[in-house]
Symmetry: C2
Subunit: 240 residues, 2 copies
Amino acid sequence: MELFFSRDIAGGICRLDQDESGHCVKVLRHRSGDEISVIDGCGTLYRCRITSDSPKGVEAAVIAQEQDWGTHPYRLHMAVCPTKNNDRYEWFAEKACEMGFDELSPVIGDHSERRVLKTARVEKILVSAAKQSLKAAVPTVNEPVSVKEFIRSHDIPGQLRLIAYCFEDGNVPRRNIKEVLNAFEGTEIIVMIGPEGDFSREEAELALKSGFIPVSLGESRLRTETAALAAVAAAYFRYM
Amino acid sequence: MELFFSRDIAGGICRLDQDESGHCVKVLRHRSGDEISVIDGCGTLYRCRITSDSPKGVEAAVIAQEQDWGTHPYRLHMAVCPTKNNDRYEWFAEKACEMGFDELSPVIGDHSERRVLKTARVEKILVSAAKQSLKAAVPTVNEPVSVKEFIRSHDIPGQLRLIAYCFEDGNVPRRNIKEVLNAFEGTEIIVMIGPEGDFSREEAELALKSGFIPVSLGESRLRTETAALAAVAAAYFRYM
C-alpha cells in the first residue's frame, strides 16, 4: 500500500508538498482522477481523488477518512540522549516508529558527548517509517533540552515515568521494566534513556525526587540506541 | 571493560590473532606482565597475563576463567531471510547479539530478492557486539540454506519452532508471539522470519506440516530486520 503525507488537509481538499507531488506524478505517474491514500501525521488516513496533477503541487478531494489508523493502545514518549554516531539515533527513531511510539525528546545529559541534534532529519525519517509501517500518526520530535530541564518539565501525575540508568544506587533499587509495565494500569508512559556515559548521579537523583522510577532493561549491557528500542519493544509487547 | 577475542586457548595458553594482537599492543599499548580479559566465543571469559607482547601474535598465560559469562537463560536460533539492503541485516545481527541470541541461519525464501550473504562479515560484527555487550559467547552463523531445507532439517522435538508470516491463512490462525512464548516451558526456541516479499504459501504450509507454529508479532507492519529483532526482544523479555 502506497501512502502520501500531507500537513495541508482542510475543507475537503488535500494538498501535497513539492516532494510528495513529484513522487506522486513523476515517479508513480498518477493523474487527475486517480485515487490516492494520504496520512496527515496526526492519526487520520484520507482516501482522496486527484483533481490537479501538477508535479509541483498535487491537489486532491477527500472522499473518505479513517481516524486512529494504524494506532497502538498506549502513548509512549521516549526521551533519549543523542548518540555519538547520528546514524544510530536515526536508526532507533525508524525502528521505534515501526513498532509504535508517539513522541521523541532528544535530551542532553551531563555526560553527553553529542550536545546537538538536527531534528529535521529525524522528522523526515519518522515520516518515511510511518508510511512504511502503515501508521497515520507520525511521532513528534521536540527540540533538545537538558536532562534536568526535561525532568523538571515532566512532573506529570498519572503518567508512568521511567528512567533507565546502569549504575546501582544502594538506596533505590532498579526495578525490572517488564514488571513495572505489567503492574501499570494506565497507558501514558515516559522512558528516559541516557547517553553512552550514562546519566550522572545528580540527574538520577533529580529524576527519583521528581517521581521517576528507576528501571533495569535486563542483564544485557545495551548500547544507548538498543536500550531505547528495547524499552519501546517492552511497551509494545506489554500492550500486545 | 576491554575484551579480546581468541579461538586459540588451550593448555593454559591464550594466543591472539594478528588483528587482536595489533589492537592489544599497538593501540592499547599492553606489555608483557599486563593482565587482559579474553572471550573464547563459546561462553568462557579468561583472565590472562601477557607473556609475549609481539604485535603479530600476543601470547598470554591463563590465570582464571569463568564459564557462561554474560549468558542468557534461553537458547534462541534465528532463521532470517537476508534483506535487500545488507546493512539492515548486519544491524539486526548486532542488536540481536546485544540483547542475546545464539545462532543465526540466513535462509533463502521463494520470494527472497537477495539470495547470497557473506557470513564472514556478519561473524565479525557479532564478535564486536559480543565484546561490546560483555558476553563471552558469540552467536554462530550458519551458511545460507533455502527456507524449505531449513524446515526439513529442523524437525526437532522439544524445541519451540515459530514462523512469522504476514498473511492470514484461514485454516491455521496465527498466534500472538507473547502468548506462545509465555506458554512454553522449555528454553530452546527457533524463530523463522521471511524476506520483504514474505514467505510463499508453499513454505508456510511445509513449516506448519513440520510442526512450526505460525505467530504474529503484533499489529504493526515491521520490516524484516525489525520483525527479527522484535522476536529476539520478545524472547529476551519472556525470560527476563
